[in-house]
Amino acid sequence: MIEVTGLHAQVGDFVLSDVTFTVPQGSYGVVIGPAGSGKTTLLETIAGIIPQRGGRLRLAGAGGEARDAAGIPPERRRIGFVYQLGYLFPHLSVAENIAYGASEPAAASEVASRLGAAELRGRAIRGLSGGERQLVAIARAIASRPDVLLLDEPFSALDPRRRVRVRREVRTMHREWGMTVLQVTHDFTEAGLLGDVAILLDGGRVLQSGRPEQVFREPASPYIAEFLGAENVFAGEARVLSDEAPDWVHGETEALSRGHRAIEFRAGPLTLYTVGDASSGAGHAVIRAEEVMLSLVPHPTSARNQFAGRVSEIAAVGALTRATIDIAGVPLVAALTTRSAQELGLLPGQQVFASFKAMAVHLC
């Protein structure tokens, strides 16, 4: 477990302040944030490499009691640390690097072979590629069987095939051994795939933390929404509809029963309907491109929000296609599979209907 409360640390002029989040025992946390947001500093502070100036940091292993880490040196925190550049000891062999912190050589060999690093054992450190260095660094950190594993962009230099294998294997060992993991990543897909908890960091502060799907679907601010890659962020005015459930909220009644309200949101020529706990007033509406469906004729759907528009741009990237629809001068981006786009026969200038559910509109 990693429990951080009001953590404060400083490196030069950079300040990490009032950082609060929890990665429960045996969970996988991901830290997301722009360059220079303090991600590495946060990991180094948790590791005890950078002194903690304030707040509270508690660490625990599987079956162990959480203990306050303040004043405990890095070597007694039972942590593993992987820097992006690996920092393998150049005077030692690959095998000696992996076994450096391992209590027994067999454990090091097992981790090395599971991660696919065993074939590198005979190689010199100076001859390893960036990806191979990362692989050996991950094996070295895990071979010491830490309670808490701190990973700073550990897969960034691995080739795609190896990345999938290593990521899966790290996840498996994390589950098997009950390690708590905190990983810094720039890759939102990776964050969604791996993370049980996502922590969004910027300027040395936590902007938002929670389950990754929650953070991605319900960003706390338009800045976070845009940072997380939400293409459709509209500024406008929200108005709470009457307390009685309006007749359009089939399917959203569950949300209404939890105390949420039906809301109308006007953003220029667009009028969106949503369900949430926002109050009336100025705000932003966020709709993830994956939530927008396209059809050539008005779709008989339960989706409350439906607009006619024209395709202004189509960009296919592998299996996914992003289509920008011009709705009375407002661009709305829809993400669909390239196959669906081909079946629809989408062409620039073509009239289409874009629809999305009230629940897909997040107000912040």
Binding site: E75, Y87, F89, Y100, S144
Partner: protein, 309 residues
């Protein structure tokens, strides 16, 4: 005082440390500058095109001429000395017992000074490279101080501290240890003038080791002292050995401080001076030639210790 020893260093491809300097000739010179106590400031990257631009016409002729003159000024006296008296010097090694014993004493005292310098200087160099504390700049300046004072003055200062009239000298004498006029005095003089070179080069060797290697080792369960033994020391070993070689070479070539503390027994530098003043140039030349040839040993060692080898 420190500014007086600061040398600006402009190079086409360098903003960082010595290892970033691409050309080996530049690197070697930079090391020698540092080893001889200069603080070298990298003045930043100069655009390659601008720096590498060829000098044209008269300017290049003048530059080549001045450079050649400078080179000749270094090479000619030494070459002349070795060519003229190298053979005689080598023969003297077999026939001249005083020369042999002076060389033996020089090697022994220089090695003792290096052992003491490494033992005392390594922790100081590590402290300077790794810790940020109040008074760090003052400590660094104090360590550099012996490099800046004339060496006979250093000898006089040591005489005040260790001479028969001083409390320390009297206590040592009471224990049967004579400092002045003994090999101990020679070691003290060598240590005083050459240890700062070791500390400065060892400091640089430690500073070149990225602290993240040490951080990783600590997260893998090693306490500080074990990190030093398993990671820092092996990674800085080449630099530390080079630093010790520089200190040894400087100790061997020391004259000014030694001559004040211990004229007899004579180390090689004192012997060459003694032969010159007592018997003239003819007698001094073979001894001087042997010393020059011996100076090549640390030079070759330093080349062999180049980090990129």
């Amino acid at each position: 005082m420190k500014e007086a020893k600061t040398v600006g260093w402009r190079t086409s491809r360098c903003t960082g440390g010595v290892r970033d300097v691409k050309r080996s000739s530049e690197r070697a010179r930079l090391r020698w500058l540092r080893a001889s106590g200069h603080t070298v400031e990298m003045t930043g990257a100069v655009p390659h095109r601008a720096d590498g631009r060829r000098l044209h016409g008269a300017a290049s002729v003048v530059a080549a001429l001045l450079g050649s003159l400078c080179l000749l000024f270094f090479v000619v006296p030494i070459a002349q000395l070795v060519a003229g008296s190298g053979g005689a010097g080598a023969r003297r090694l077999f026939s001249d017992a005083e020369l042999r014993s002076a060389l033996w004493l020089t090697a022994l005292t220089a090695t003792s000074a290096v052992i003491l310098g490494v033992a005392g200087g390594t922790p100081l160099a590590y402290l300077l490279a790794r810790q940020r504390f109040r008074g760090r700049a003052v400590l660094a300046a104090v360590i550099d101080l012996p490099l800046l004072i004339p060496h006979p003055v250093a000898g006089i200062a040591l005489l005040l501290l260790l001479g028969r009239e001083s409390a320390l000298g009297r206590s040592a004498l009471a224990l049967g240890l004579r400092v002045v006029g003994s090999p101990i005095g020679i070691v003290a003089a060598m240590l005083f003038v050459a240890a700062p070179l070791y500390i400065s080069a060892a400091h640089e060797a430690f500073a070149r080791v990225d602290t993240r290697y040490e951080s990783v080792a600590r997260t893998l369960g090693d306490p500080l002292w074990r990190v030093f033994r398993r990671v820092t020391l092996p990674l800085s070993m080449r630099g530390l050995i080079a630093a010790a070689v520089v200190m040894w070479a400087r100790s061997v070539s020391e004259f000014g401080a030694i001559v004040v503390l211990t004229y007899n027994p004579k180390v090689a530098s004192v012997l060459s001076y003694d032969r010159f003043t007592s018997f003239g140039l003819g007698e001094a030349l073979p001894v001087a030639a042997v010393l020059v040839m011996l100076a090549l040993v640390p030079l070759i060692l330093l080349r062999a210790l180049r980090p990129d080898r």
